[in-house]
Amino acid sequence: MALDPSTTRYRAGFVPATALEPQRVRAMSGVWDRDEAGAFIEELFAKHHGEIYAYLFRMMRDAELAADMTQDAFVKAYKNYDTLEKPENARAWLYQIAHRVALDEIRRRKIVRFLPWTGESRGSAPSAEHLVMDARLSGDLQRALAKIPERQRAALLLAELHDLTGLELAAALGVSHVAARALLTRARESLRQALAAEREADAAAEAARDGGRDRNRPAEVDR
């Protein structure tokens, strides 16, 4: 069997395409100083890895995955060191990279139809911290967050939990200032509606517990 290149859609390149990819070529060609970049990234890591990890964890609900993605984000930051124009923008720049890593992963997961962001843990037992976290995050808010579109979720998390405002938020989301604010506005409304739906579903499930099964979500029907 032969693929017909004229009709087959290939994904560009071997590495999942990101907007940052072209810089890799420059990095490889040694345009910038590797030691300088390495030292700078190490410093950035020390300052910001906790919040970057927290952001990715909150986006994906999976501790191990968030760790992988944090690593990925800092490697990308290293490779794209030359795209950072001013050191004072480093934090927003890091968030922008992490945000792209997250969107990329989410896109992949949609392709294979994994259950979204429900935080399947990778075999290992969740830590006590995560259990506490889950307890806090669990329930309606977590499910509602998981249901709103990922860009809106990102906007909400970055604004409310990571203190990005104005131009920083726009830079992290990779959109204009006006678009970032509009996204946030839509996100608040989406979350409100999603939370309301969750509460309704809770009530309905409560009622159904007496009456019968059925929750028109076939894949989740009890086995």
Partner: protein
């Protein structure tokens, strides 16, 4: 007011004033409104109770969100070590090197026990040639497709209206699941759904074929004829047993098995197959010329599945008709076990459980009583078959902690070896022209359990009888991974045009990432086709061939079972379907 905001406002058409108010309320949380809007909103709010409720909800939601700050998730302690190592692997700065050695590695839980390998003979199993109604018309009932517990009548066309399924050659994938412990199921697929489409293929439900085990084995590999399989199971003694089993034949299943009642009645006992007739028929068509022994043993048993079903793998399988233990008291290593292309041999890597020796390669000639150990240096790993020779890899300096690898070509019949280059565990394609191979160095695993990649790359290379050569493709078109995997598994389809690569996770070899590549044979490069799985999380042990890649997903959150996911391709497209969640499904490879 700026020109831009005038323009913007003019284009805003609010369906009603409440909607406008909601938007402004949300907006106001993130900064002051323009005076005009602010005034309008205040006026509106004075007479709008529902808007006040929305405002309260926004404020409450914000508070709830901010409440999440109190418990920031804690990143793993080795995150910098991992990141620094990854940066270093990018050709990065020496500043990172001091931490690079801190990478954590966990014990190989999967390989800790001793395994028994059992070969099953008799019932005719599964994977690829699970029969679909020949000349089956789309829409004709398919024996294997069901949704939602089989409650609704299902044709092979997904019932979701907006699905845009991709038709693929009808083939089935077999798996063993503990839904009914140790039972073999088949999952027929003749169409899949494009990735990226919102379209949703119906979730598939497997069809029971028969119960072979008391519980699902760790690994099960079908022979090229699909009539027999080798199963590897962990016994009560903690060792592995390798067994040969017969696979149940899907063709023998009564066609209209879509109703739950039918499958329920079929469940406890093996399927109502008529083993005396069909096996013969199918044997003549499929096994003619096959070197596999004719199932005289199983033929003597009227219902081979029944006798097999009663066998405990942890008991003494060799004593039982239909189940032949070809190796026991060993510990099977890694995921590379495979039948030879002609189906006459089966090779795997194992450690003897009763002596402190390392890994050696075992070969079983189909039809013989026992697998035979072919190497004795305690550091040999079966890589793949090339023609009908085994490719075996080992460190050049097994007494050191780090080493370069070397590969040899071994004739399974006499153990004669000849050099096959310096790659580690080359997975040779069916044309013998290419291989995916670890090019780099090896080290002893941190837990001392054996040799694993250290520094280098898993990549596509040209292949010849002398071993791996150069590839013309650029680096980015041939490298699968440049981080040293604890284990990997590479399987080509029978055309050599598609290859699937599973790479174990860094800390846990029981889970990994699976990617399907198309191989551009002219340019010698790996291509990721739109819609094909890329780095999807998968349990070890996938099946590849007949236009399909099937794997099991890790168990989901909240106790949801694993799913079988199947990627299938036509000449132009790749798509995916999946099964309902089940208990510990193991794909028959």
């Amino acid at each position: 007011m700026t020109r831009a905001s005038r323009l913007r406002r003019r284009t805003e058409r609010w369906p009603d004033s409440h909607e406008r108010a909601r938007a402004r309320l949300a907006e106001r949380l993130d900064g002051p409104l323009e005076l005009e809007e602010s005034t309008w909103l205040d006026e509106h709010m004075t007479g709008c109770a529902s808007c006040a409720a929305v405002a309260a909800a926004y404020a409450a939601d914000r508070q709830a969100l901010r409440g999440l700050r109190d418990q920031p998730p804690e990143p793993p302690r080795d995150l910098w070590a991992r990141t620094a190592a990854a940066i270093e692997a990018e050709g990065g700065s020496s500043a990172q090197k001091r931490d690079a050695s801190v990478r954590r590695s966990l014990p190989l839980g999967a390989f800790a026990g001793v395994m028994v390998v059992v070969v099953m003979v008799g019932v005719g199993l599964l994977t690829a040639n699970l029969p679909l109604p020949s000349g089956g018309v789309k829409g004709e009932e398919s024996p294997t497709v069901g949704i939602e517990g089989g409650a609704s009548p299902v044709a092979s066309i997904p019932t979701i209206a907006n699905a845009t399924p991709i038709a693929v050659d009808p083939e089935a994938v077999g798996y063993v699941s503990n839904d009914r412990p140790g039972t073999v199921y088949s999952l027929s697929v003749d169409e899949v759904c494009a990735a990226g489409d919102k379209a949703d293929c119906a979730v598939r439900e497997g069809t029971q074929l028969g119960t072979l085990f008391t519980e699902a084995p760790k690994t099960i590999l079908a022979s090229p004829t699909k009539h027999k399989a080798v199963a590897i199971a962990n016994t009560a003694a903690g060792t592995d047993e390798v067994m040969v089993v017969d696979l149940p034949e899907a063709t023998e299943r009564p066609r209209p098995t879509r109703t739950p009642a039918a499958s329920a009645s079929a469940a406890p006992t093996p399927t109502p197959a008529a083993p005396t007739t069909t096996p013969a028929a199918s044997a003549s068509s499929k096994v003619s010329g096959s070197p596999e022994p004719t199932p005289s043993a199983s033929a003597a048993t009227p219902t081979p599945t029944a006798s097999i079903a009663s066998i405990e793998p942890s008991a003494t399988p060799s004593a039982t008709a239909g189940l032949i233990a070809i190796a026991s008291g060993i510990e099977v290593v890694g995921e590379s076990a495979a039948f030879s292309p002609d189906g006459t041999w089966f090779a795997f890597t194992a450690r003897a459980a009763d002596e402190p020796k390392g890994a050696d390669v075992y070969a079983w000639r189909v039809g013989s009583a026992k697998a035979v150990r072919v190497t004795d240096d305690g550091a040999s790993y079966f890589a793949s078959w090339s023609d009908n020779d085994m490719i075996v890899s080992r460190p050049t300096d097994p007494s050191a902690a780090k080493s370069d690898p070397a590969s040899v070509r071994v004739d399974p019949a006499n153990g004669n070896e000849r050099d096959a280059g310096d790659g580690w565990r080359p997975a040779v394609d069916p044309t013998g022209k290419r291989a995916i191979v670890w090019v780099g160095t090896l080290k002893v695993a941190d837990d001392g359990s054996g040799w694993v990649p250290d520094k280098g790359r898993l990549e596509l290379r040209s292949w010849s009888r002398d071993g791996a050569g150069r590839s013309q493709g650029s680096e980015r078109d041939r490298v699968v991974t440049d981080s040293a995997p604890r284990d990997f598994d590479v399987r080509w389809d029978e055309t050599g045009e598609w290859v699937a690569v599973w790479v174990a996770d860094r800390d846990d070899t029981l889970v990994g990432r699976l990617t399907l590549f198309h191989v551009d044979s002219e340019k010698d490069r790996l291509e990721r086709v739109d819609g094909a799985p890329v780095d999807v999380r998968a349990l070890p042990g996938f099946s590849m061939g007949d236009g399909r890649l099937a794997w099991a997903t890790p168990r989901g959150q909240g106790g949801e079972g694993s799913r079988i996911q199947i990627a299938a391709w036509s000449k132009t497209d790749v798509g995916i379907v999946e099964s309902n969640p089940g208990e510990d499904p193991v794909v028959i490879r």
